[in-house]
């Protein structure tokens, strides 16, 4: 059966588990807080967040850090809902 990239249970791997601790960076806290705020505003629920994450191209999903995936999903859902225009965030960054 075809496995989606996020469906990790029993995914073959011999990678050890990296147990180093890391304090969440400011942008990671910000991303988390933004998603919570969007959820309170009824603009994005947890299932949409997950679906947006799952829509990442598989190699990008595997490469991305946790909150990079959240950010990707938030942007995807917000563009879908017309809150952001496609490319609007990129334009802001240049």
């Amino acid at each position: 059966m075809e496995r989606a990239v996020h469906d990790r249970g029993v995914w073959p791997t011999d990678m050890p588990i990296d147990r180093s601790e890391h304090e969440l960076a400011d942008w990671e806290l910000l991303t988390d807080a933004l998603v919570s705020a969007l959820s309170s505003e009824g603009l994005m629920n947890v299932d949409e967040l997950r679906r947006g994450i799952e829509s990442m191209p598989p190699d990008e999903y595997e490469r991305a850090s946790y909150y990079e995936r959240w950010l990707f999903s938030a942007e995807t859902i917000l563009v879908e809902k017309g809150v952001l225009a496609p490319g609007e965030l990129d334009a802001r960054l240049t």
Partner: protein
């Protein structure tokens, strides 16, 4: 399959040591505030709430359950209600389930599909919990994973791996270490580690002086 079985970014790091996602997150906040989609104060408040939660909250539940059998029964029956007794808010998940480790049963928790975690009771999850190898191997090789965390179960202990795939959040009630009969509830709470409430570690009694 992919060689990329680790959970950190390969994006170039900018001069200030931040990945490009950092600027992106800030720009997103700016845009959403300008559009009045979210309020900056709400975002700040969410950050405050996020950093205010820590494993110390869950540890209070565990320590109370260790010293009060009736509380333990209530915790196992309805962890959300039991948390409220200690003025702890167990978060937006409608159902929080506490599972008890005993001499014959050991529980450990994973979320193979994403990273579901009882954040309101334990704070944000550690990186390893969110990592691809943990999400894969906690179900396919749980004894191997426990060994990496330094935990070896006796042969006759049943290992129960909980995959929190849906709306329920799980917190493990670890075993009370031997030789802690004299400790106060507060002293006991200090022994309860985050990892023991995920089920990959066992609390240990303080070394006697």
């Amino acid at each position: 399959m992919s060689e990329h079985d680790h959970d950190h970014s390969h994006d170039p790091i900018t001069a200030d040591g931040e990945p490009p996602a950092a600027a992106r997150a800030r720009a997103l906040e700016e845009l959403l505030v300008e559009k009045a989609v979210v309020q900056r104060e709400d975002v700040r408040r969410n950050i405050d709430r996020l950093v205010s939660r820590s494993p110390a909250d869950g540890a209070r539940l565990v320590a109370r359950a260790w010293v009060d059998t009736e509380f333990k029964e209530r915790l196992l029956a309805d962890a959300r209600a039991a948390a409220q007794e200690l003025d702890l808010d167990s978060g937006p998940s409608p159902v929080v389930v506490a599972v008890e480790n005993t001499e014959t049963v050991h529980h450990m928790v994973v979320c193979t599909l994403c990273s579901c975690y009882p954040r309101a009771l334990l704070g944000p999850p550690p990186d390893w919990y969110k990592s691809l190898p943990y999400r894969s191997r906690a179900v396919s090789d749980p004894h191997g994973v426990l060994a990496e965390f330094g935990l070896e179960l006796d042969e006759d202990v049943e290992l129960r791996v909980l995959d929190s795939t849906a709306d329920v959040r799980y917190i493990v009630l670890p075993r009370k270490p031997e030789g802690t009969e004299e400790l106060s509830e507060q002293e006991l709470a200090a022994l309860v580690t985050r990892d023991s409430m995920i089920g990959v570690a066992q609390p240990v009694a303080p070394a006697t002086a």
